[in-house]
């Protein structure tokens, strides 16, 4: 399995975590995975919505204390 890239978006408020995710994914290849760490609860809605409209998949959303961890797989776009 390919390496999972990490993206720290803690303390950023939406839409900045979405923008950072978008910018990171632009540099990645289909099938690669990105793990986002954020603190704005808005990412629980915004990242899946962004993935749906752009053809990427959300693999998991976990909450650890105040942190939200979202793993996505880059789609064929």
């Amino acid at each position: 399995m390919s390496e999972t890239r990490e993206l720290d978006a803690r303390r950023l408020l939406c839409p900045l975590p979405v923008i950072r995710t978008q910018d990171a994914v632009e540099q990645m290849q289909p099938g690669q995975r990105l793990r986002l760490i954020a603190t704005d609860p808005g990412v629980k809605n915004d990242i899946p919505a962004w993935c749906r409209i752009n053809g990427h998949s959300v693999e998991s959303i976990e909450e650890q204390g105040d942190e939200i961890l979202i793993t996505i797989t880059v789609g064929e776009t």
Partner: protein, 347 residues
């Protein structure tokens, strides 16, 4: 069969841009959305901070609109470039610190740059003649097209029939007869068109989509500039103006006082950048001090901070004072009497 023409639609998350994009999609044009984040967008931010708002369902309306339309959305960070728009608006400000006409011109210019880089043909906005006092008037709409550089590549489908035909209309990429002639502040035509498209839900942000149209926010921004050597700002400045109660007891410093636990948590993240105060003998809000302060200033700040905590009626309140990134020290003060808090201190 030839490739369909491609348009980028400025998507704010509101109804008009959603309708404008849909009108053009219905004509067989490939449409994608673009949304610019200036730092002042109301979208999201404060909902994520205040405790009372944390339970509300959250959604980014621009993303939501894109999903309803089934189009891609490109969200572009323009925080740095937007500074020049806000600091030097050629057409001045609106009622508050909102440079609406310059802002619209800037966004269309960025969209124009984007279509050139991405091989798109034209730009769509949801503007309606006469709807907004500054940027959406019959005399200012050509200004946006001209100053942005987009010229006749800028199509406003909802009011196109009030405007000269644009290149997409003249070239037959879109059928002008199927565009609209909306005007003025009434929302009835938009509601009817939404009904026709089967849209049942859309965002209606009270007071617009930008913090700069808000008087309280603009007052804080002006206060910040008046007490600094320059009118520059960074993202943290913009964010902090949205959070807490702001009191300026002396010209060279102000206090940012968390109003609830959510704001307290948010301000925690700034303790490495600011001197902070926290009551320890009683419950109380986290307070940041913005400015260069001496011991007398810190004592005054501590007395004010104590006033906003549960020990406000106690003879003495103990606080921890923590310099940026430093070790806390303990301080005991008498909470300031409410009559001694000058109303003019409230920013």
């Amino acid at each position: 069969m030839s490739e369909p023409r491609k348009a980028i639609a400025l998507i704010s998350g509101g109804l008009d841009s959603m309708l404008a994009a849909k009108v053009i999609m219905e004509q067989g044009v490939h449409v994608e959305g673009i949304n610019f984040f200036t730092g002042f967008c109301v979208e999201g931010h404060t909902h994520a901070i205040r405790s009372k708002d944390r339970q509300r369902p959250k959604r980014n309306n621009a993303l939501w609109v894109a999903e309803q339309l089934g189009i891609r959305l490109h969200i572009v960070d323009v925080i740095e470039e937007y500074k020049d728009v806000l600091l030097n608006p050629k057409h001045g400000y609106g009622q508050n610190m909102n440079p609406c006409l310059d802002c619209k011109g800037f966004m269309v210019r960025k969209a124009h740059e984007w279509i050139r880089e991405h091989g798109f043909d034209f730009i769509i906005t949801g503007e309606v003649v006469g709807q907004r006092p500054m940027s959406q008037r019959k005399d200012t709409m050509p200004v946006v097209a001209r100053e942005s550089g987009a010229g006749d590549l800028l199509l406003r489908p909802l009011c196109a029939k009030h405007l000269p035909p644009t290149l997409p209309e003249r070239e037959g990429w879109v059928d002008r007869d199927k565009l609209y002639d909306f005007s003025g502040r009434t929302r009835k035509p938009q509601m009817a068109l939404a009904e026709q498209f089967g849209f049942r839900d859309w965002a209606t942000p009270a007071g617009g989509c930008c913090f700069l149209t808000d008087k309280a926010y603009s007052d804080k921004l002006v206060d910040m500039w008046q007490h600094r050597a320059s009118r520059d700002y960074d993202l943290d400045d913009i964010m902090l103006l949205k959070v807490g109660r702001h009191l300026r007891p002396r010209p060279h410093f102000k206090l940012i006082i968390a109003r609830d636990e959510g704001e307290g948590k948010f301000l925690e993240g700034y303790r490495k950048q600011f001197t902070s105060l926290k009551t320890v003998s009683h419950g109380g809000p986290l307070v940041l001090i913005d400015g260069e302060v001496n011991d007398d200033d810190i004592e005054l700040a501590a007395r004010i901070a104590a006033r906003y905590g549960q020990g406000r009626s106690a003879p003495q309140v103990a606080l921890e004072v923590t310099p940026p990134g430093g070790e806390p020290r303990r301080l005991e003060v008498e909470p300031l009497h409410p009559n001694d808090i000058d109303p003019a201190w409230h920013v």
